[in-house]
């Protein structure tokens, strides 16, 4: 812990619970016809149950790759990934994913797209419909429930994809830049909404984001990654009190943390240049 400005008493006590994800010495190399790319190398990470972890890092550093490995959609080239103590063997229904690209099906309406996971899981239709209606209302898409994705703006599609990821009320949530295409206001509204939902239910959440304020505001832990090939530069526990809200961002500790992270991200490359 080389963070002298951290008050150690605020740190969560070391958990004895089995982590939801245990990642150890993971690296990932993509091999294609046009060449190989080392995307991740030497990743060690534990995500305890009920924690909210954010990943920040340069574009192309392997954040999405890491998320896909945790989701069971990509295999790590090297290393070990355990999910609740057992070797990961593919995706699980407990884990819900919000993809970086929205992946809405153009032949389904927004509502049908959002309901898709609940239908595949065979969840009771009426209850799911109500939950979905609530999610759509929350994300300002209630008027567009019957529209096809092609009739939505970029940000609206992202919101619909987020609703879909939340529709099954999953134990574990993996979100890849869910607020990337959103304006400042909508982004803030939705991220606070997500924060409220999470603080109520204490599911496990992993969020990839480019917004450092957002990462600090929402998370228990922020993982900072280096540019490609992705390594973990630092794992920063966020010792801000909960529940958090808009006001949390006004705390001096908040500014301290965000500036520390900003420095981590900005300095190495600046020095190199």
């Amino acid at each position: 812990m080389n963070l002298p400005y951290l008050d150690p008493s605020l740190l969560a006590p070391p958990t004895t619970q089995t982590p939801i994800f245990h990642v150890s010495r993971v690296s990932k190399t993509y091999e294609t016809a046009s060449g190989t790319t080392l995307a991740l190398t030497g990743i060690d990470l534990d995500i305890p149950p009920g924690s909210f972890v954010s990943i920040v890092g340069a574009s192309g550093c392997g954040k999405s790759t890491l998320l896909k490995i945790l989701a069971g959609l990509e295999d790590a080239t090297e290393g070990v990934v355990l999910r609740e103590g057992r070797e990961l063997d593919g995706p699980s229904r407990d884990v819900s994913i919000g993809f970086q690209e929205h992946v809405l099906f153009p032949w389904l309406t927004i509502e049908q797209n959002v309901m898709l996971p609940t239908e595949i899981y065979g969840m009771p239709a009426e209850a799911s419909r109500q939950r979905v209606q609530e999610l759509l209302r929350m994300s300002g898409l209630a008027d567009f429930a019957r529209r096809k994705p092609a009739e939505l703006s970029g940000g609206m599609k992202m919101r619909a994809a987020l609703c879909r990821a939340l529709s099954t009320d999953p134990r574990v949530l993996l979100l890849d830049e869910p607020f990337g295409a959103l304006d400042a206001l909508t982004r803030e509204e939705l991220s606070l909404e997500l924060l409220r939902m999470w603080e109520k239910a204490r599911k496990t959440a992993l969020l990839i984001t480019h917004d450092i304020d957002e990462a600090v505001l929402l998370s228990d832990t922020v993982v900072v990654m280096s540019p490609r090939p992705g390594r973990i530069v630092e794992i920063i526990p966020i010792d801000l009190p909960r529940p958090r809200n808009e006001e949390t961002a006004a705390l001096p500790r908040f500014t301290q943390l965000t500036q520390h992270i900003r420095k981590l991200i900005f300095s190495p490359r600046k020095e190199a240049a």
Binding site: K68, A71, G72, L73, G90, P91, S92, R93, V95, S96, I97, F99, E101, V103, F105, P106, W107, L108, L116, P117, E119, I120, Y121, K148, A150
Partner: protein
């Protein structure tokens, strides 16, 4: 929206009708100016006249051919889709099923017609089999290509949901493949009509193929051509019905 006040569907139908009329006019003129004897190419006028005399029979025979076409085509669709599904489920299967399909496809149906009659006798069954054999291949090749084409991202979504193969099929692969399946059906339906006629050539007492053969054998060329015209009409109508079905089934764009 801008210039024309006509509904586009009206424009399209009009154009189709116009081009058919134009073809007929060229044909009539060609026959008259080249003075082609009627047993080589009868003029549209003479065909219409004969068709009118024979309209009762033409209707009956057309009905038989239409029936064989539709049943055979329906059977082909009903079998091609599950098989294409199977191939989409286990891609390696493709390399065992396709050779067999290629064998079936590459044998000229006329050449194995005797075999077909031996097994299926006379009646409509052998024709339906020929229709089936003729239009099965285009449908399954298109359907397989469509079902295989699900993009990486979409497949990842379904995998992340641990959707079963069935669910992936019904909710992703099939809707996504629909446009290509319909292309296969459009090609298939036109071959189906020909297949019915080939089946009738092989052995039959009714149907447009029967009429064409017997009329030709009697050098009643205008009658043979009126049967050909009936066939073409059936083919065009069925094609546009499939296209209509496509419009209803595929109402989205990427």
């Amino acid at each position: 929206m801008k210039k024309s006040t006509l509904h586009p569907a009206v424009v399209r139908t009009g154009l189709t009708a116009l081009s058919v009329v134009a073809m007929l006019a060229v044909w009539e003129l060609a026959v008259r100016s080249l003075q082609l004897p009627q047993w080589i190419l009868p003029s549209p006028a003479s065909i219409v006249q004969v068709a009118n005399e024979w309209r009762q029979d033409l209707l009956v025979h057309s009905w038989v051919t239409l029936y064989e076409t539709l049943v055979g085509f329906a059977a082909a669709v009903a079998l091609a889709l599950p098989l294409a599904m199977l191939i989409a489920f286990t891609p390696l299967l493709k390399h065992t099923i396709y050779p067999a399909l290629l064998v079936l496809q590459s044998v000229p149906k006329v050449a194995i017609a005797p075999l077909i009659t031996l097994w299926a006798g006379f009646g409509v069954l052998p024709k339906i089999i020929v229709v089936f054999l003729v239009c099965f291949f285009p449908i399954i090749v298109s359907a397989t290509a469509g079902l295989e084409s699900a993009s990486r991202g979409r497949m990842d979504l379904m995998r992340s949901l641990r959707a079963s193969r069935w669910q992936t099929f019904w909710r992703l692969r099939l809707p996504q493949a629909m446009p290509q399946i319909m292309v296969g059906c459009k090609v298939g339906i036109t071959f189906a009509v020909i297949g019915a006629v080939i089946g009738e050539f092989v052995g039959s007492e009714q149907g447009l193929g029967f009429l064409i053969l017997t009329a030709t054998a009697q050098s009643n060329t205008p009658l043979a051509f009126s049967a050909l015209v009936a066939l073409t009409v059936i083919s065009i109508v069925l094609y546009y019905l499939v296209e209509r079905a496509e419009k209803l089934l595929v109402r989205w764009s990427d």
